[in-house]
């Protein structure tokens, strides 16, 4: 099956490592609310900053704990590497499973978000949004892995 958007299989391991580290880091951030903001403080470029009480600014150097940024990058890059690298054998059925998983993830993710929009409010909703940045990708990776395993024959 010819596809033009899949990376070579050798990147898949790296993807799983980044994805795993990212997810663990994400849980750590969530469990230690705010504590991680003090980690890895470095000067970063803020392209646009709109302060709630104060002026907005463009292209300013600010100090920021980049732990959460790293975690986010790890999850997103890792998830993409896992989902969009070639399998050891890449064929039309795997291609179909990948596409089906992607559609499934999109539908499930937005269904959950819809329910959350209607029934969850205030800070709790903000938490949902935080998770929602990554859930489409996470659902996709899980679904794709499950389907690949499910169709693996267990014949003698």
């Amino acid at each position: 099956m010819e596809t033009n958007y899949l990376l070579p299989n050798k990147f898949k391991k790296l993807g799983w490592v980044l994805f795993g580290l990212g997810l663990i880091g994400g849980i750590f951030i969530y469990a230690t609310i705010g504590l991680t903001d003090e980690f890895l403080k470095v000067k970063v470029l803020s392209v646009y900053d709109n302060q709630l009480f104060g002026d907005s600014s463009f292209f300013k150097i600010v100090e920021n704990g980049i732990f959460d940024e790293l975690v986010s990058v790890f999850i997103i890059v890792g998830g993409f590497l896992v989902g969009f690298t070639k399998e050891k054998i890449e064929d039309e059925f795997i291609y179909k499973l990948r596409k089906d998983s992607l559609v499934w993830a999109l539908i499930v993710n937005y269904s959950i978000l819809l329910v959350a929009i209607l029934f969850v409010y205030d800070m709790t909703f903000l938490h949902i949004l935080f998770f929602n940045m990554f859930t489409t990708l996470v659902f996709f990776v899980i679904r794709f892995s499950v389907l690949k395993y499910k169709y693996l024959s267990h014949e003698e």
Binding site: I89, D91, E92, F93, L152, S153, E155
Partner: protein, 66 residues
Amino acid sequence: MKNRLKVQRAIHELTQADLAEKIGVTRQSINAIEKGKYVPSTVLALKIAKLFNESVENIFTLEDKD
């Protein structure tokens, strides 16, 4: 669509893994086709038929609901 893939495989004494390797697809594909969960592309159907030295119609046949 019905298929006689499993029968053909038995005749030629091939496991799903053997067949998959011979035509260069995954074991998942062969498994899904046999279970009727996946309709292979024309190219794949032709490759399978060629391997078994049969016509495609002898392996894959239409059902009423198709």
